[in-house]
Assembly symmetry: C2
Homo-oligomer: 330 residues x 2
């Protein structure tokens, strides 16, 4: 074969792969581009910082565990004093792709989200004031904040900004499905390919689309048939006050869904196959055959990407000025 | 200067440094030598594995946090259902150098220790049987155990063996004081040098010696004057049944003491200076001047070594056979 022919085939392959990917409703997740590594490193320290909680025991990573797909793998989370959380902890992986944060979208971005659990009495149980006092009390943090923000003083704005900057790096590129989208037809098996076709044909993709395969819109949980749950969460209604927003939640990402069980905002379903069937039933009014369910699960499992490689941060020691943790008393 | 003279000086320096180090009651901490990296990696996964607890929320790292000097930095730990632990969590760093494990030495080694908290109803609240069922339920763990142990089946023996193998790597070499011992006279400042001299002259070193600056013996807490505490722990008496062992505890390591506050088995003292003065008083019947205390603290801070660089493990997903976590109900 001539070099020219080889070149032509190569170009044709790239073009065809690119146009295939471009025409699909799911987009690849690109690797994180880190423009400010010092801010990311600072944010990582804060993400793993249990002294941002009243008890000194709970960090962001406690409920968004980066060893476990960015979740705690519990129906609802454990908060200060072992309080039971009100909703399933969503994954922090690829969270930046959400149109807003929390199941009800009440935080507009990751920065605004990061301030929530710190001050929530059922979660980390602290206050922004004490969080700032804590971080400010340690010279090593002072030096890092001064370097990153080029100003004196630390406020909750910088703390949550740094956490968000770290969280933006928590993406999971190179899932088998991404490789498939990019033209590697052997990256996923026949079941997964069939599952993807079903995912589009049945209409799942009308809500689960974009790079995160979700996160792009709000949708009613129980669109065709009601979703039965003991969980009292009403979703967007709590934010907008509108009755029409009752049970309307942010569509969750399906990236790494293999890792982020149990499923739904109430964490009531542990098996992915069951979650798929429930969704088909109550959102689309469809019943899947056993084989279709299997194919759909194969497709969903192909969305597990490369997990972030995190070197555990070493945190600076408390000083005499650091507010002491209050794990047990008031 | 002739080459021969240079060589002579070099040899003399090495010889002098070596003999200086050899004649001192504190020994350097060498870097970990990893002979079985697969076992260490498996042990690391298990160390960070919250599914070894009843709740699915508490791992070894929860109370021996490798971001925080291998401790939780709390007076006593938080266990299952937010139960208050009975004793201060000792650091896992350099723990292998202890003559036994736990404050009362009731476990003969790290392997025996590792089984304790998993099954302790006040700590991880699980059972060895459920721990084994959990690990066995995941194909990725099965493959790793088969590779490391070259046998079928997983028991609590292998689980705790792997955890111990990982923990043996958690050493902190190259502390400024180690560099000083090895001949770098500028590695620690004048206060630290004076503090070390005091540490020897006052008699601290009679208990705090060896590579870990502790861990080599048991000693009564309150040797000269009683130690006042509300903590009911009686130390070795609980193991041996002998009245003479009442309040006799394993001498804790002073390596990384800057990071492992609060101090003593009851975690009652937050400031290192206060801990030093209390020890001088109740163990040695001595009162230190303000300057002596400062020097002693400088010396102790020079014992902070290089912290282990840990890449957070990615844990395999649960399967339909994995016992589900029971965070809230019985």
């Amino acid at each position: 074969m001539s070099t020219l022919t080889n070149l032509t085939i190569a170009i044709a392959t790239v073009f065809s792969a690119t146009s295939f990917a471009a025409s699909e409703p799911i987009e690849i997740i690109p690797a994180a581009i880190i423009t400010n590594p010092d801010k990311v490193e600072l944010g990582k320290m804060l993400f793993f910082e249990p002294r941002l909680s009243k008890s000194g025991f709970i960090s962001c990573n406690s409920c968004h565990n980066l060893s476990l797909g960015g979740v705690d793998a519990l129906p609802t989370s454990i908060g200060h004093n072992w309080q039971q959380g009100s909703i399933n902890s969503p994954t922090v992986l690829n969270a930046e792709y959400g149109l807003a944060q929390f199941w009800d979208g009440r935080a507009k971005d990751l920065k605004e989200q990061a301030g929530g659990p710190i001050a929530n009495p059922k979660e980390m149980g602290f206050s922004h004031e004490l969080a700032v006092d804590t971080i400010r009390s340690m010279p090593a943090y002072q030096a890092r904040f001064a370097q990153v923000y080029q100003k004196d003083g630390i406020t909750i704005e910088e703390i949550t900004d740094a956490i968000a900057e770290f969280e933006k790096t928590l993406v999971t590129p190179n899932a088998p499905f991404d490789k498939f989208l990019l033209g590697d037809k052997n990256a996923i098996d026949a079941d997964a390919k069939a599952g993807y076709q079903l995912f589009k044909d049945k209409g799942c993709v009308s809500c689960h689309n974009g790079p995160a395969v979700g996160g792009t819109m709000y949708m009613k949980m129980g669109l065709v048939k009601p979703f039965h749950t003991n969980n009292p969460a009403e979703g967007r209604k709590g934010v907008t006050g509108k009755e029409a927003d009752k049970f309307v939640f942010k569509v969750p990402t399906l990236r790494n869904i293999e890792l982020t069980y149990p499923y739904f905002h109430d964490g009531s379903v542990w098996e992915l196959a069951e979650a798929v069937n429930t969704m088909a039933d109550i959102q689309l009014g469809q019943a899947l055959s056993e084989n279709e369910t299997k194919q759909m699960v194969s497709f969903l499992n192909s969305l597990t990407g490369e997990q972030p490689q995190i070197v555990l941060p070493i945190l600076p020691p408390s000083t005499a000025d650091t507010p002491r943790p209050v794990p047990f008393a008031n």
